[in-house]
Assembly symmetry: C2
Homo-oligomer: 326 residues x 2
């Protein structure tokens, strides 16, 4: 039995084949998987296709193309959208589990978001990315920039493109979890910033109630104004809110200090005993921790009209690979 994450990828490949007319090649499948938020390269996709072939759910057709079999269609029918409905929150827990980042030693694997842009836009993009992260509207100022042809995780960066990785805020949840604090990421939202201070949430989406990542929703609906925050100190940025038991407050505050020491400092509200927290409900017995999103730098690029392909919660990566830009 493959693990849950592999299972979801297999189902998604079956979906892609089922929704197409005729055979589809591994490269096209990998591209479509990417578009749907799965960071899977061509090689890895071929590996998954072989698993599907072995089970009789797909078969080769033509030169390297694949089609879905009647058995594959049957399998798909039994796959629930709930696999995907739970998707965002389930995927979050999966990545929390996989985080090994240790802020005290500043080592281990962190969760990252990835954004692909055209190489031609790279210079002006990096300039803005740097401004956003240095102003503190991402999780950390540490980034990784990967040129065309080079590898980022399982993928080769396509020709003419550049990939950028930022710390994902789920890294914070992973660290809290690894130190024994039960943490529940609740809402992704739009935070109104005024005079460089987080003022209140104006929109939120519950991570447990959506099969689409809230961050992608807000960016594609053009609800951010990160550039305006940089220019005037006021505007709308991406953020999220998590809850921990109120008894874990002291321990969490210590960990948040350690995170700051490791340059992970996107948290703007840490365990305050206010309810609601910046307009967002917090359960009794818990306190909230709100942080900016690692997607804000990419949102700023989209606001500039730069073509972006944003994959939140893309992978775990050795944190040493992420460095401050000069």
């Amino acid at each position: 039995m493959p693990d849950a994450e592999t299972q979801r990828k297999l189902i998604e490949i079956l979906r892609i084949l089922s929704e197409s007319n005729g055979e589809v090649g591994a490269r096209k499948i990998a591209e479509e998987l990417n578009r749907r938020g799965y960071n899977l390269g061509e090689r890895a996709t071929r590996y998954h296709l072989r698993m599907l072939d072995e089970r009789g759910f797909t078969k080769k057709h033509g030169y390297l193309g694949r089609v879905i079999t009647p058995l594959g269609e049957e399998e798909l029918k039994h796959a629930l959208v709930t696999d995907r409905l739970g998707f965002i929150s389930t995927r979050i827990e999966d990545y929390e589990f996989r985080t090994t980042f240790d802020p005290s030693a500043n080592t281990g694997d962190a969760v990252v978001n990835i954004c692909y842009i055209n190489k031609a836009d790279c210079d002006k993009a990096l300039e803005v990315l740097k401004q956003v992260v240095e102003a503190g509207y991402a999780i950390s100022p540490r980034l990784k920039v990967v040129d065309e042809g080079q590898e980022i995780l399982e993928n080769d960066v396509p020709e003419g493109q550049v990939a950028i990785a930022t710390f994902c805020s789920i890294t914070i949840d992973g660290v809290l979890l690894k130190r024994g604090i039960p943490v529940s990421l609740k809402y992704g939202g739009i935070i109104r910033v005024r005079d460089n201070k987080a003022e209140r949430f104006t929109d939120i989406i519950d991570y447990r109630g959506t099969s689409i990542n809230p961050m992608n929703v807000f960016v594609s609906r053009k609800m951010t104004s990160v550039l305006k925050v940089l220019e005037t100190g006021s505007g709308n940025a991406l953020a999220n809110v998590r809850e921990i038991p109120i008894n874990a407050r002291e321990k969490a505050l210590g960990i948040i200090e350690e995170l700051r020491g490791a340059e992970v400092y996107g948290i703007f509200s840490a365990c305050e005993s206010v309810r609601p927290l910046l307009g967002v409900p917090v359960e009794p017995g818990t306190c909230g921790i709100a942080s900016y999103s690692g997607i804000n730098p990419f949102a700023a690029l989209a606001e500039m009209g730069i073509k972006t392909r944003i994959i939140p919660l893309a992978a775990v990566m050795n944190s040493k690979e992420l460095k401050r830009l000069d």
Copy 2:
């Protein structure tokens, strides 16, 4: 004390004023309210501004402009995003309550969605709208088209534009409620259609967990392919799912028959005792009713590249005003 809907509009106006620099006129506020999903005309906006003035939350500034007062800012701080988080599901219940549509007599007020388009696009738009509704991918083939300068509800249609109203699927919920059936609209989603039959949901968003209408999310993320459904019989359309107690099944089926008689027939899965329903979870003790969305005709326009401003769940309207296109 104003009712909850008025209260939300007042808060939203305060938000708009708070987020702007300097004074804003009633027309600009009305436009911004529209963009945020409130169907409020310039006149109605002025009326609401007077209410805010009276309470000291806003004051006149310059020639017909308004600014927010310190007292207004204070009021806003206490307003919860939860007013808006609950927004979509709260607003749904509000409209269910206001529906007086009686399918047996084919009279009363129905809930409608509204879409504004440029007048120049009107001819080709109406042709496609007609195809979508006649093929059964909306709630009803009955529409209302309102020309520039004429009034639709509280609004004058702006110069150079045309407004189109369609039956909103919440009308169904309103009718069930008025006949004493407790109904709970659960998910908005994307339904995969194959060979002109609803096959399974591929994405869903919980109405209780979002401050943004799921239908707007799916359209702005270009996740529909209604035109492809018309052309080939297969593609992705907007739909939603509601639950009723399983004991109310027989009564609901009778009402659904009556609705069909009144040309309200967008339901594609009525109280089947399958669980999950087309991939969507249904609570024990309940059965699901799934229907296409009245937004599908507008989604088709957006797919064609026609500029649309879509307001789901816009208002209630005398159902007699909605007629089949010739």
